[in-house]
């Protein structure tokens, strides 16, 4: 295809604003599928977990053959972007592979925080942006208000904003026409040595690792020896081609084209998003800019409930990592829990996905410790260490200073919730940065139509990551009746008065229950935690004291009283089988718990710290 007739674009949308439905329409319009929703879902949203959570985790690409109004045939490459803030690096790489983006905003919801953040990234990459107000068919839709909001926030004029209903197919041709008209064809040097940007990769059990690439300079030829520049390894282009939406092999991907390269690699970690593919014989001098190593932000311990599941757990993690280069793990041993793994995740959602897949797909009974961030500790002897496990914090006498990661967060919501958001954030040590109304000049004239308290604002804060790890998003949603959206990005490290809270069960410290907390909260949290644990730890054959200690001093104590009665009453007319079943159930229940010393502790207990209230 002539380079002038190629358009590479993506869709930027908040979850549920209609990205998949619109992509579905594009496919239909271009004749790739016959309106079968299921097939399209398979194209853009294939993992079950993704569908359940309404996020697309892995970006993929579809090539759409399109006959435009000018009568010419075009090659439109739609590149899918992950929809969650944990994957912002992956989003940025997908955007870097495009020249344009269709911005989709739900006509009944308005623009959301993450969407704004992604649009800014797209603008940094000089993408042409085509704003679309979707779901105009909806009862509660206010397309004009949302259009003017988009104009104010991103800086369009009203006539640039398209109105659509992806569900009804309204506006789809106009959007495709706009893509052809407004998105520039790819530039790039055909004669230069090959540079192809990897914007996604996945492991395929037949073909090995498949890299999804956008050719920036030069071209990829089948059978050529290639090089991953950042990973610094050689590969061979075993198969190359495009997705329409199934893989269609080809001999060559030319400058500006989008497609896949089967690399034969066994480990996606070697084919990281953002890496540059070049020719092994004629390598490019410089890789493409923007490559970053995966940087885990959140950590937790994963332990098999049954010690002999350690091997299977390691195998499962290794398999998962085949397809998830951002997952990191290394063996660690807890005094209380025995051998397990410390895992690093991009964020909380990533953590939940990994844990759920381990339990669902690999049928493992896991014990998961509360998530932690990475602390930088300066010791009195001048040494600096980094810890991602509260248990590893040196004793207070050896600690000079502990610094924790802070995030910049942006909340977009109607202005009547400003007070609630402010309270939530400052209650978690957050600091206010700035506030902006999203309706500016352009909508002043119809200000009357916007009810008091309904104007959307963007609030920006600095807040410690540890404070938003747990239930922050849920709390934000519930305090704002679901109207607030959240975006966050790493900001900086900052020293704070942090202390370790230790928990002793039956007088033994349980390292996996330790947490690092702000000194102000330590006592109150210790108290709450032992109370929660008293409810969660089942009664044993003996009294079990549960204590919280800060800096070696006991600050709270509760006792789980010894069990007194657990016996079947009846004989059930000789139904011994049934009696045995009941006992087996009790036995299985015990098995699911972790034995720490003499005490059986259920999984929920290790998550109890998640439910702690912040304020003393």
């Amino acid at each position: 295809m002539e380079r002038s007739h190629i358009r590479n674009f993506c869709i930027i949308a908040h979850i549920d604003h209609g990205k998949s439905t619109l992509a579905d329409r594009f496919l239909e319009q271009t004749g790739l599928t016959r309106g079968s929703r299921v097939e399209v879902e398979q194209v853009l949203d294939s993992m079950d977990l993704e569908r359940e959570r309404g996020v697309t985790i892995k970006a993929k690409a579809v090539r759409l053959p399109y006959k435009a109004d000018d009568g010419d045939d075009y090659q439109l490459n739609l590149i899918d972007t992950p929809g969650h803030v944990d994957f912002s690096y992956e989003v940025s790489r997908a955007l870097a592979a495009c020249e344009g983006a269709v911005l989709v905003v739900d006509a009944s919801q308005g623009i959301q925080a993450q969407t704004i953040a992604n649009v800014y990234v797209a603008m940094e990459h000089n993408l042409a942006i085509i704003p679309v107000v979707n779901k105009i068919d909806l009862q509660g839709a206010d397309p004009e208000a949302v259009a003017s909001q988009i104009c104010d926030v991103i800086g369009f004029s009203r006539d640039e904003v398209l109105l659509a209903s992806a569900k009804e197919g309204i506006g789809t041709p106009e959007i495709l026409q706009a893509v052809v008209r407004l998105v520039p064809p790819p530039s790039g040097d055909e004669a230069a040595p090959l540079r192809a940007l990897v914007f996604d990769s996945k492991y395929d059990s037949y073909k090995g690792v498949i890299a999804y690439v956008r050719v920036i300079d030069g071209s990829v030829e089948r059978g050529h020896r290639l090089r991953m520049m950042s990973a610094d390894i050689a590969i061979e282009a075993l198969e190359i081609g495009s997705l329409t939406p199934g893989p269609v092999p080809a001999d060559r991907l030319a400058t500006g084209e989008v497609g896949y390269v089967a690399t034969g690699l066994k480990d996606v970690g070697l084919c990281r998003v953002g890496d540059t593919l070049t020719d092994a014989e004629q390598p490019a001098a410089e890789p493409l800019p923007g490559y970053e190593e995966a940087k885990p932000m959140v950590f937790s311990g994963l332990y098999p409930t049954q010690p002999n599941d350690f091997g299977p757990l390691r195998e499962a993690l290794e398999k998962l990592r085949l397809n998830d280069a951002a997952l990191s793990f290394e063996p660690e041993t807890s005094v209380a829990l025995g051998p397990g793994f410390r895992c690093g995740y991009l964020g909380l959602l990533h953590m939940e996905i990994v844990q759920e897949r381990l339990e669902r797909e690999y049928d493992l009974d896991l014990l998961i410790t509360a998530p932690s961030v990475e602390y930088r500790v300066r010791k009195t002897n001048g040494e600096e260490i980094v810890i991602d496990n509260p248990a590893a914090l040196p004793p207070p006498t050896e600690v000079m200073e502990i610094a924790e990661p802070w995030m910049t967060i942006t909340v977009v919501c109607p202005d009547r919730y400003i007070g609630a958001v402010m309270e939530l954030v400052t209650g978690r040590r957050g600091v206010f940065d700035k506030m902006e109304y999203l309706q500016g000049e352009a909508s002043r004239q119809n200000e009357d139509s916007v009810q008091a308290g309904e104007r959307r604002v963007s609030l920006q804060y600095q807040i410690p990551l540890a404070e938003i790890l747990v239930d922050f998003h849920d709390k934000l949603k519930s305090m704002t009746q679901g109207y607030a959206s959240l975006d966050y990005a790493f900001s900086h490290y900052e020293a704070a008065k942090l202390q370790k809270l230790d928990i002793l069960v039956n007088s033994e410290p349980v390292d996996a229950l330790s947490l690092i907390t702000h000194s102000e909260n330590a006592h109150a949290q210790g108290k709450q935690l032992v109370q929660r644990l008293r409810q969660l730890i089942p009664r044993q054959l003996f009294d079990v004291p549960i204590q919280a200690a800060v800096g070696g001093r006991i600050v709270a104590r509760e006792t789980v009283r010894a069990l007194r009665k657990n016996v079947l009453a009846k004989c059930y007319g000789g139904d011994v089988t049934r009696k045995r079943k009941l006992l087996e159930k009790q036995k299985a229940g015990k098995k699911r718990m972790k034995r720490v010393g003499n005490v059986e502790i259920p999984q929920e207990a290790f998550m109890a710290v998640l439910r702690l209230e912040r304020k003393s």
Partner: protein, 391 residues
């Protein structure tokens, strides 16, 4: 084989279904009684051959509410049993009964059929508690029924009571026990109320309409009762059972001693020739399947037991666990020499790991060549039993 066996006969009919009950019992199906009696007779015939040469030492009619069966209907059944099985002349012959409409003529009729032991489901001597349990009778009817049994001539009468009802005060429980003792029953069974999944009680508890029984209160009541009944000269012989000397329930002892028994009737369980199995629970299904089996037997086509719908063969491993789990329910415990004779292994050695915590926390003890639960262990039996199950 000249081993004796026990016979259980299940009567699945009740006038109302109690809220806590998850037995195989049905209200409003009384019209099935005549057909059901016939089916029992046929089922007895089906088992005749398999139980030849095995004298029956105990017969137990359980339910449901066996006392709903009119005497004439009962006679048909009992005659049928006698013609199919070799029932010993001195066999213990028990019947479970509910206090309502237990009058002297009816009881005399049962006595005439050979019943010599009566177990009355009193549950409580407080009307408000009876009401909360959905029981149909009153406290005074329970006393009347007991006296009627005595005057009809029953010399072996047991009373069932339930403790640990939601919000039941200790004093209320003590009152029921004292009332029971006044009647001087020969045997007493005491069961802690258990919330069984799927029952109306379980739903009420889940919805917060009824508090769940408090295990600590149940433990207090149990401990008080043990002392009280000992003073009244009852022997505590099984976790839930007390008897005057010579009045232990022989039938139930066969379960706890892991001996064999044959169960007849819908949902009945058997342990025969090393296998445990169960009959279809739904009465109409039971009637249909027994009929089919009986026809095939009569016309000589096969001897299949179609009414038997589930079963397991008891491996030696399971047998060992069952022997301990059931035997430990007896206050005397499990005889270690007998265990050794039966299985060729020493129970304490074979289960040393499983028993280490029960010993450590004084749930079990080794006394007089027996392994038995301690008084503390009686309330925590499941903690011991669950550990003894094979993996």
């Amino acid at each position: 084989m000249a081993d004796t066996i026990s016979l259980y006969v299940h009567i699945p009919f009740c006038t109302v279904k109690c809220g806590y009950c998850d037995f195989n019992a049905y209200a409003g199906s009384d019209h099935l009684i005549p057909a059901y009696s016939q089916a029992l007779i046929k089922e007895a015939q089906l088992w005749r051959k398999a139980t030849e040469n095995r004298p029956v030492t105990t017969v137990f009619f359980g339910g449901g509410t066996p006392s709903l069966m009119p005497v004439e209907e009962m006679r048909t059944v009992v005659d049928g049993l006698r013609s199919a099985f070799d029932i010993a002349a001195d066999a213990e012959f028990s019947l479970e009964a509910n206090p309502n409409s237990l009058d002297e003529p009816y009881l005399a009729g049962l006595l005439g059929l050979g019943f010599n032991r009566l177990s009355i489901g009193v549950q409580s001597f407080h009307d408000e508690e009876l009401k909360a349990l959905d029981r149909e009778h009153s406290a005074s009817e329970a006393g009347d029924a007991f006296r009627a049994a005595r005057s009809a001539g029953f010399t072996n009468v047991s009373i069932d009571l339930m403790f640990g009802l939601p919000e039941q005060e200790m004093s209320s429980w003590q009152g029921s026990i004292e009332e029971a003792l006044e009647l001087e029953p020969d045997h007493i069974s005491l069961y802690a109320l258990t919330v069984e999944p799927g029952t109306p009680l379980a739903r009420d508890v889940a919805r917060g309409r009824t508090p769940s029984p408090n295990p600590d209160a149940q433990a207090d009541q149990y401990e008080w009762t043990e002392e009280r009944l000992e003073k009244a000269a009852y022997e505590h012989y099984e976790i839930s059972n007390w008897a005057k000397p010579g009045y232990r329930c022989e039938h139930n002892l066969t379960y706890w001693r892991c001996r064999e028994y044959l169960g007849l009737g819908a949902g009945a369980h058997s342990y025969l020739d090393g296998a445990r199995f169960a009959v279809a629970a739904l009465p109409t299904k039971y009637l249909e399947l027994v009929d089919e089996s009986f026809k095939s037997l009569e016309n000589g086509s096969d001897t299949k037991m179609r009414q038997v719908v589930s079963g397991e063969s008891v491996t030696p491993e399971l047998d060992m666990a069952d022997t301990l789990i059931l035997g430990l329910r007896l206050i005397e415990g499990v005889s270690l020499p007998d265990f050794h004779e039966g299985f060729g292994v020493d129970a304490l050695e074979r289960f040393s790991e499983e028993l280490s915590e029960p010993f450590e926390f004084s749930l079990v003890e080794h006394v007089d060549a027996h392994l038995r639960l301690t008084p503390k262990g009686r309330l925590l039996g499941n903690e011991v039993f669950a550990r003894l199950l094979p993996d």
